[in-house]
Amino acid sequence: MIDIAGLSFSYGKTRVFKDFNLSIPDGQVCLITGINGVGKSTLLRLMAGVLRPDKGAIRFDARLGPDPRRKIGFISDSLSLYESLTVSEAIALHKSAYGLPAIDDALIRHTKIGSGQKVRELSIGQRTILHLELVLSLAPEVFLIDEIIHSIDAYLRRIFLEQIVQLLAKRRLTVVMVNVNFHDIEHLVERVILLKSGEIAVDETIDALKAKVKKVSSRSAPDSLYVLSRIDYEDHSDFFVYPFHEGLRGTLGGEIRDLNLTEIVSAFIGGEYA
């Protein structure tokens, strides 16, 4: 369980969160999304403990121990590591800081990252894989992943996601992902949270969200529809409707289509959540 209560946080005079509350149960794969600058990555950093709340608290399940950071795997978009260290030195530092007996470097070998290479010489993809290896070594209970997986090539992204799928299959891992592009992670996600101006604008399970957001293609939208955003064509318009309910089906002219997660979030972002 991650329990965020009464969280306030600001960067100088710029307030990001004020009295923000969120609870994520154990074993849930949660996606946090929204337009740029709403505080997605900040929220992840607050959970990882690298940012400190101005007010409020972030509590983790007691089984994570007195210092939850020991069981939190955090992959941030900045991929922060000591860049002047070699890969083997970075691994040794990580091992000693967490008191780990050993770190399996199978992923690093598999992706042909040289242990003598400096961290700063690695590509973004290689650094992501190194981070993943370090995080996996902790046997994390909570996994926080920022948008970085979209900056890496398809091959490394597949390796990355396979590792997460394997991890999820092995045990109840709580995953919080920050993302704006979902084509290859949609099947993992159970809950979607859309942030707007530091507040939760939408908080739904993925199934509920898919049932509630539909695309209606017609010449005009009935007044009864709540339209998130629209795309106009010569002969018709696509209306992205939220909340949609099954009772509307008979009343609407035109075609009603289901949407995938990327399309749903695009619909919200396109109209900035209307």
């Binding site: 950093r45 950071r69 040794a92 800081a97 967490y98």
Partner: protein, 237 residues
């Protein structure tokens, strides 16, 4: 973490040894070319003093340099280490090398070096550490340490004159040095500690309010006191 910091401290230590390494060359240069009759022991003494001065400031000023250069603060703060553990891992190896260097200097130059200048080296070391959190450039840190040294020096004169008036002259200078150093280091140390305990990966400039709220008034008060004292007690009076 400790191993990395020992390696970092060793790197600064080796870089600071330049003054010592140059001594045989300076001596040879003098013997062969300038023929000024430089004494090797005096040269060595000067070399050790300069090296100790350089290392005291350089080791402290570069306390967070690897995090700044490598953009590794986020990684550092994500590790399950308390702020106390981080500071100890950073300061102890540097202090260890400083003591090692001071020990070597004592063996070569004699005990009098540390008796006279030991407090100064510690003052420079800790003041450069305490400045390192708020002053990002090593050069600016050096200027800051210079200013602190000037305040220390003036403070030491004032305190020793008080002690003389009180008839405490036997260890007067040493006690004055300790008091003067403590008056400077304690507020700077508190400012450093309070800031470091709360610091996170926000831009550092947004997190220095407490630091400057302690350091700047301290500097203003101390400088004002020194100026006021100097006006009422002109040198030699």
């Amino acid at each position: 973490m400790l191993r990395k910091e020992i390696r970092d401290a060793l790197k600064r230590f080796v870089e600071s040894l330049v003054a010592l390494i140059l001594i045989p060359f300076v001596y040879a240069w003098d013997k062969l070319i300038t023929k000024a009759g430089l004494d090797y022991k005096s040269l060595l003494q000067t070399g050790f003093v300069v090296t100790l001065l350089i290392f005291s400031v350089y080791a402290g000023a570069t306390l967070f340099q690897s995090e700044r250069k490598d953009r590794a603060f986020e990684y550092l703060f994500s590790l399950p280490l308390s702020r106390t553990e981080i500071i100890l891992a950073k300061v102890l190896p540097r202090l260890g090398f400083l003591i090692l260097l001071a020990g070597a200097a004592t063996l070569v130059v004699g005990r009098e070096l540390l008796q006279e200048a030991g407090i100064i080296f510690l003052l420079l070391f800790f003041s450069s550490i305490f400045l390192s959190i708020g002053v990002f450039s090593v050069i600016l840190n050096l200027f800051g340490v210079g200013l602190i040294y000037l305040i220390y020096f003036q403070g030491q004169l004032i305190v020793s004159s008080f002690l003389l008036k009180l008839g405490l002259s036997s260890h007067g200078l040493w006690v004055a040095s300790v008091i003067s150093a403590a008056v400077l280091l304690i507020p700077f140390g508190i400012a450093f500690w309070l800031t470091f305990m709360k610091i996170d990966v926000r831009p550092i400039k947004l997190q220095l309010r407490t630091y400057y709220a302690i350091v700047l008034p301290t500097l203003i008060i101390l400088v004002s006191l020194i100026v006021a004292y100097s006006r009422t007690h002109p040198l030699g009076s």
